[in-house]
Amino acid sequence: MPDTIPFADHYGTLRDALPGQDLPWLSSLRQSALARFTAMGLPTPRQESWKYTSLRPLEKLGFGATGAPRACISIDRAPSLLPAASEHHRLVFVDGHHRADLSSVGRLPEGAELTTLRALLAHEPAWVERHLGAVSGAAADDREQPLLALNTAMMMNGFVLRLAEGTVVHEPIEVVHLGGAGDQPLAYHPRNLIVLAPRSQVTLIEHHTHLGPIGEEGQPYYANSGTEVSLAEGAVLHHYKLQAEALEAFHTATVHAEVGRSALYDAFSMSTGARLSRSEIAVRLAGEGANCHLNGAYLMRGSQHCDNTTRIDHLVPNTGCSEVFKGVVDDAARAVFQGKIVVHRDAQHTNGHQLSKVLLLSDKAEIDTKPELEIYADDVVCSHGATAGDLDHGALFYLRTRGIPEAAARAMLIEAFLAESVHNIAAQGICPALMASIGHWLAGRPGEEA
């Protein structure tokens, strides 16, 4: 069927189940997004920013869509990255559908709200109208964002986190996405909004995982999320993510963030799962003194493909960014790191640093690294670096001469390589879970989570 655009026909199936049908602005937003997506189709490697990542396997598989959650799935408790005893707030989605019975949002401080897009469309559609697409629309050249257009057309639900001025949430907020519950391969498109008013602060943890094999093998699924982050003056968002999808799954995530004066967007993501994943983060540093940290780690093996693509726009003077991605790639797996930093004409005194470090554990493992600095201001400090190599043979030999078997010595060195990134995370509560997922990967059980 070369003439049909994959996923475009899902709209007909989903239409009656999509939220906000009584809202004309939303219907027209969806319609125009669908029209754009239909015109563009899925991205192909012919596009510069998709040069190293092909969605052909996604096209071939043929996913369905469903407007209703599968009722018979029962889970006692969704997995958590936080210690069981710790205070935190949780929203749980299964195949993109909110599961109130698994969620537990405790008492949030005055001025903090954690809810779903569907609920907010019902109660405060005007607020959603104001914010949906506000950040991504300002940032993106729509023609390059077919996946976001697809998301906009078919978004069923997602989380909304908003904080009023000066609100500080001390307990972390965890959003868990569980995939693979369908009895057929499903595609779903979560849409999330994070809006932080001046001087508010919160830590958000996203955990993307799966229910584990239901039959002989888990069902493939496709999660295509879109997230918009708006940080007003002095706001701080710590945004952490573990992508541990099923190994048959596809995961694409688009994040657009706008960071205001003296605000901080601090992001860390770790990827161990999915057959094919792409995380695309675009940050606009739009107020003086705005900062962002985009850090990440990934562990890939088999024939997995993991793409981290970032773009940071320095729009005004005195903004900073630091970006460190560390990866471990084994077997015939492939990783892509594309990091673009654009320093606009007015953005004097920009401080930008980018580093990509990769361990390639086999001859067939591959990394494609593309750093891009576009600098239009003359008084800036910007640097980038990239390394790719095998484990340090000298260190490996040293450990083995002390009696540590080769496999354990290798694991020790890989863990040490990534541990630094994990331990730099501000929310120390999730470090044990992230280190555990590194441990699981090293033990050859990548999909297993605590």
């Binding site: 260190a395 009696g403 540590i404």
Partner: protein
């Protein structure tokens, strides 16, 4: 304990060892001296099993077993220990984690039970005390940012914890001031027992004042050119290696 017979070895295809014969018995301390480039470090790496250091002829028996067939970790399990001339820095691995993993790996190999965290801490504390080491060095990443002396002390600590039967000390005196040298030598001397043996590789006689050898061998041109008692080291200190280098070249 160690029987090296007609050992030839190459590094990157280049012949370095050209027929070494050396027998070390339990309870003995042997010093191996020689000029730079004589093959001293090559011998230590061949004995420890480093990749790229290939034995092409001859054999090495350790306690009657073929040492050259064993993986480096098996050699450690069997009780062979190499104190490195240049200890390797391992960022991100705390020294104490490394020591515990090493000790328990060796204990597993030997069929002994693993030590739990408490037993391990107790053991290490007693050893660091003997070596005048601070606990701070245990928390830091292995050898990262250590001074030359601290690195060598750390080698001595590993040796003390792993309690090898055969310890090979490769230029342990290099980069050490006299106080550090004494401390490290004291640590090494604690291992001198009738059932243990030491092979001390050194360029200078200095270390041998503190670790007194029973036998001294001169290595030059990939072969042992002379063997004798501890007085041979003193002779070398006076006359240098020139005579042996000439012999080797001839």
């Amino acid at each position: 304990m160690l029987d090296i017979k007609n050992l030839h070895a190459t590094v990157g295809g280049k012949p370095i060892l050209k027929g070494i014969d050396l027998t070390v018995k339990a309870g003995e301390v042997h010093a191996l001296m020689g000029p730079n480039g004589s093959g001293k470090s090559t011998l230590s790496y061949v004995l420890a099993g480093r990749e790229g250091y290939e034995a092409t002829e001859g054999e090495v028996l350790y306690k009657g077993k073929n040492l050259l067939e064993m993986a480096p970790e098996e050699r450690a399990g069997e009780g062979v220990f190499l104190a490195f001339q240049y200890p390797v820095e391992i960022p991100g691995v705390p020294n104490t984690t490394f020591l515990k993993e090493a000790l328990n790996s060796v204990r597993r190999y030997r069929g002994e039970g693993e030590l739990d965290a408490m037993q391990f801490v107790k053991l290490v504390r007693s050893k660091t005390k003997q070596l005048h080491m601070s606990d701070d060095m245990l928390k830091r990443a292995v050898n990262v940012g250590f001074s030359g002396g601290e690195k060598k002390r750390n080698e001595a600590l590993q040796m003390a914890v792993l309690e090898p039967c055969l310890a090979i000390l490769d230029e342990t005196d290099s980069g050490l001031d006299i106080d550090a040298l004494k401390t490290v030598a004291d640590g090494v001397n604690l291992l001198r027992r009738p059932d243990n043996a030491l092979l001390v590789i050194t360029h200078y006689q200095r270390l041998l004042e503190y670790i007194v050898p029973d036998h001294v061998h001169v290595l030059a041109g990939g072969r042992i050119q002379a063997s004798g008692g501890k007085e041979l080291a003193l002779e070398l200190e006076k006359s240098g290696y020139a005579a042996f280098s000439a012999t080797a070249a001839a």
